[in-house]
């Protein structure tokens, strides 16, 4: 029953959907990035490749900042959520799904509500900063909102469940007997974790980093609402160029640059950590 057609039948419907509603529109982006013109006279395809170096040149601070913020928030989310995913998978018992669901629950409420309440909590005289000020732990002028810290905090917060779920899925399938056997072999729990659990959960980490990292590098809402001067990310620029300035070629070029940068990161990650190999051994 190993018909060669099977994988195509399995992937076919999904790929058809993505092909029509994602790839085709995306190709148009590539061609638009090479056009010149304006919204009144229209744009012509002039194969204007200089748009790419120009855009990188003009927006390199925002591009680099996006990868920095995205990277930091992804790393924090990974470190914070790995133990949570681990505990739910190994010690959640029969209530594992329940715990996962609870973790995800705040994210069914619109992002605007979450951000509004965070703004309130983190306000200069609000619950957190206000209290710290009155105790004298931070200075009178201390604030979190409108700083890079606020943007990264916002990005990290929104990433928490997206990081936990795939890691949980990967850990959950690890063979218990294997872990027990490792426990007998290595005296310390640390060794057991490092040599067995961590490598076996690598595909989940990979998926979590993909999900969170990519979303966060391309995000613009956090920077727009929680950020201040000099926290603009590339997503904000793309948004403005599309919607406000109708400069489609620059917006398209920046989109492609962002996507290529992200894909480069994905491939470097896969290359350095050899995700495929680990998957095959696991």
């Amino acid at each position: 029953m190993r018909s060669r057609l099977v994988p195509y039948l399995q992937t076919g419907p999904a790929m058809l959907w993505l092909g029509i509603f994602f790839v085709v529109p995306l190709i148009s982006i590539a061609s638009i990035s090479l056009m010149t013109g304006n919204s009144i006279a229209g744009w012509d395809l002039t194969w204007n490749f200089s748009v790419f170096p120009d855009a990188i040149d003009q927006y390199s601070p925002q591009i680099l900042r996006s990868f920095l913020y995205g990277g930091i928030s992804t790393f924090i989310a990974l470190v914070a959520m790995y133990p949570v995913a681990y505990w739910i998978a190994f010690h959640g018992g029969r209530r594992k799904s329940l715990f996962l669901f609870l973790l995800l629950l705040p994210f069914l409420v619109s992002f605007i509500i979450r951000i509004l309440t965070w703004q309130f909590i983190l306000a200069d005289d609000g619950l957190v900063i206000g209290t710290l000020k009155s105790v004298g732990l931070v200075g009178e002028n201390a604030h979190v909102l409108s700083t890079p810290t606020a943007v990264i905090t916002g990005l990290t917060y929104d990433a928490l469940p997206w990081m936990a779920l795939p890691i949980y899925v990967a850990i959950e399938k690890i063979d218990r007997d294997l872990v027990e056997a490792a426990g007998d072999l290595y005296a310390s729990g640390y060794e057991q974790f490092r040599r067995v659990i961590l490598p076996l959960s690598a595909p989940g980490i990979y998926a979590g980093i993909l999900l969170v990292g990519i979303t966060n590098v391309g995000d613009f809402l956090s920077a727009q609402i929680l950020g201040g001067p000099n926290t603009t990310m590339i997503g904000n620029i793309i948004q403005t160029q599309y919607v406000q300035n109708a400069d489609f070629p620059v917006a398209s070029a920046l989109s492609l640059i962002l996507m290529l940068g992200l894909m480069l990161c994905v491939f470097i990650y896969a290359w350095v950590f050899g995700t495929r190999t680990i998957q095959e051994y696991a």
Partner: protein
């Protein structure tokens, strides 16, 4: 390789041998993280009881009232927007899970020509900034004269959820030993039965997580939806628009209702699980050992 032969379904429910670290430190940490994610929800719930003389929500405390719960469906467009959101989230995650799961199975277990291309498409779909996805899709719909509305929102949401489903389910399936399924087939089970009895239970947690993720991403999406929505408003679109002039307290009440509905579903599933466990324990004494 020890334990390859163990049934994966029952095995995964068994806790790993406990150490003090995982018995005390970890549970406390997990609780703290969970509470942290719930902070905004707590604030939201508290402020649904705040008086709002201007029908706009404020964080200044104007006095206690339950008025807004009685008037929750009085902002007609908002109610409609909430229904749209739920409708889109449910249907799009079902479609995306149905399409994405088989694709993930194929990608995780088979080597076939064109696999690289599919991998690339999935990763590109994930790496595409939402602004780009929204704007390019819109152009596509207009070019084909497809009227924008709930259908186009649905199409767009499925398009971004498929890749998520594929990634999550793939993480679950990859490395999973196929010999079990093959053994079942050798023993005379049809491929379909073998899939149902062996593979499906094994990958079910992956499918469940993927569905949850899709649902949550869909119900919270603002950027892509704003491009393809046409005259249809979803909950995030309505709320984002209303922020300009101040949001009515009903928004927080609806958020609270979504949250409470979620908690109730969780409790219900817990009770049902308990009951089925009790039944199981009565009929099969051996299973007691693992719970």
């Amino acid at each position: 390789m020890a334990g390859r032969g163990a049934s994966p379904g029952s095995d995964s429910a068994r806790p790993v041998r406990s150490r003090p670290w995982s018995r005390f430190v970890l549970p406390v940490y997990v609780t703290v993280v969970m509470l942290y994610t719930l902070i905004p929800i707590a604030v939201m719930i508290v402020y649904t009881f705040n008086k709002a003389p201007n029908q706009r929500l404020t964080f200044a405390w104007n006095g206690f009232t339950t008025e807004w719960y009685g008037k929750v469906f009085q902002v007609a467009d908002l109610t409609q927007a909430l229904w749209h959101s739920l409708e889109v989230a449910v249907i799009s995650s079902i479609i995306a899970t149905a399409l994405g799961t088989p694709a993930a199975l194929a990608l995780a277990r088979r080597k076939f020509r064109g696999r690289g291309l599919i991998d690339l498409t999935v990763i590109t779909n994930l790496t595409a900034p939402t602004v780009v996805v929204g704007a390019s899709l819109l152009g596509f719909f207009i070019a084909l004269s497809i009227p924008r509305g709930i259908t186009t929102i649905l199409i767009a949401h499925v398009a971004f959820n498929i890749a998520i489903v594929i990634i999550v389910v793939q993480a679950r399936v990859s490395g999973y030993d196929e010999s079990l399924e093959e053994a079942a087939q050798d023993l005379g089970a049809s491929p379909l039965v073998a899939f149902q009895k062996i593979t499906l239970p094994m990958i079910m947690p992956g499918i469940f997580s993927a569905f949850l993720l899709s649902f949550a991403l869909s119900i919270d999406d603002y950027i892509i939806t704003s491009f393809v929505a046409g005259q249809t408003l979803t909950f995030p679109l309505w709320v984002a628009g209303a922020v300009r002039v101040g949001i009515p307290p009903q928004v927080f009440v609806m958020g609270t209702m979504i949250f409470v509905a979620g908690v109730l579903i969780a409790i219900a599933s817990l009770i049902m699980q308990r009951r089925s466990e009790r039944n199981l324990a009565r009929s099969d004494p051996a299973s007691r050992a693992t719970t």
